[in-house]
């Protein structure tokens, strides 16, 4: 497994376990998380391109503590597939927008109301 793929998989696992939290950024559909004491990872959905369908492109960027882009995966790369980025983006979105907590709260309310 490539290191890039390992990063994506670990991020997904840690986010699902709730030990890695993401934040929504100013740009639409962009989420960021801080790893360690200086690395930031951004994952972003881009406008659909001319691929014959309306699925978006995905971009993952790793920035170091000097704010330099040290790794950039656009759609796919080093055994990372488009689907991996799509799932990571969705997982990050759910963490950043606290989707699960909101759904749980709504469910609790609805059950309470009978």
């Amino acid at each position: 497994m490539s290191k890039e793929k390992e990063i994506v998989e670990l991020l997904m696992a840690r986010t699902k376990a709730g030990t890695q939290s993401w934040e929504p950024m100013a740009r639409e559909d962009e989420f960021a998380t801080v790893v360690g004491e200086g690395f930031s990872i951004f994952v972003r959905a881009l406008e659909p391109r001319e691929r014959g369908d309306d699925t978006p492109d995905y971009e993952l960027i790793l920035k170091d503590n000097n704010d330099r882009d040290v790794l950039s995966i656009y759609n796919a790369g080093e055994d990372v597939e488009w689907k991996d980025l799509q799932v990571l983006h969705d997982t990050a979105r759910r963490s950043a927008l606290k989707v699960d907590a909101s759904i749980d709260a709504v469910l609790r309310q609805l059950k309470k109301q009978g």
Partner: protein, 166 residues
């Protein structure tokens, strides 16, 4: 009295050594205390500089909010870049003083500032949609919150130190 004089005369060398040792110990103690005070003053001055930089970034983030409200994207871009640079300086300069949580918060603040700057660059060419303005405003509020929290923490440390010194 004569016996005491005789004792002094017979043992003046040993007495002088004991007195010398005592003087050395006192001098050493005074020097150590002076160094500790100087180190504490230096550390406090550094903390004050840290809080000044965070205060500066915080003021700029409030200005970003006003410029977003007015649609002044050139200034949003400039101020966001300045905040991003200030966060980088803080992270580098006070690497030892900041704890892990503070580093994460300041890193996030830098990420938000960078993201706002990117929106502002695009907004210079294409007018942002309502949704984009809502997103960028939310990011500015979060940026402000992160910087306020870190500024509060820096001030708390300084004030805690002042109280412990009193």
């Amino acid at each position: 009295l004569q016996a005491f004089r005789d004792f002094l005369v017979a043992n003046w060398g040993s007495i002088a050594s004991v007195v010398g040792l005592a003087v050395s110990c006192v001098t050493l103690w005074v020097a150590r205390k002076a160094r500790e005070s100087a180190d504490a003053a230096k550390e406090e001055a550094r903390r004050r500089n840290l809080s000044e930089d965070l205060q500066d970034a915080h003021v700029k983030s409030e200005q970003v909010g006003l410029f977003i409200r007015d649609g002044n994207w050139d200034r949003v871009f400039l101020r966001s870049q300045e905040i991003s640079s200030l966060c980088s300086i803080v992270l580098k300069r006070w690497n030892k003083e900041l704890n892990g949580n503070s580093k994460t918060q300041i890193n996030l603040a830098r990420d938000h500032a960078g993201s706002i700057a990117k929106v502002a660059v695009r907004a210079h060419r294409v007018q942002p949609s309502e949704k984009e303005i809502v997103n960028v405003s939310a990011a500015q509020r979060r940026l402000n919150e992160l910087l306020s929290s870190e500024l509060g923490e820096a001030l708390r440390v300084i004030e805690g130190k002042e109280h412990s010194d009193v």
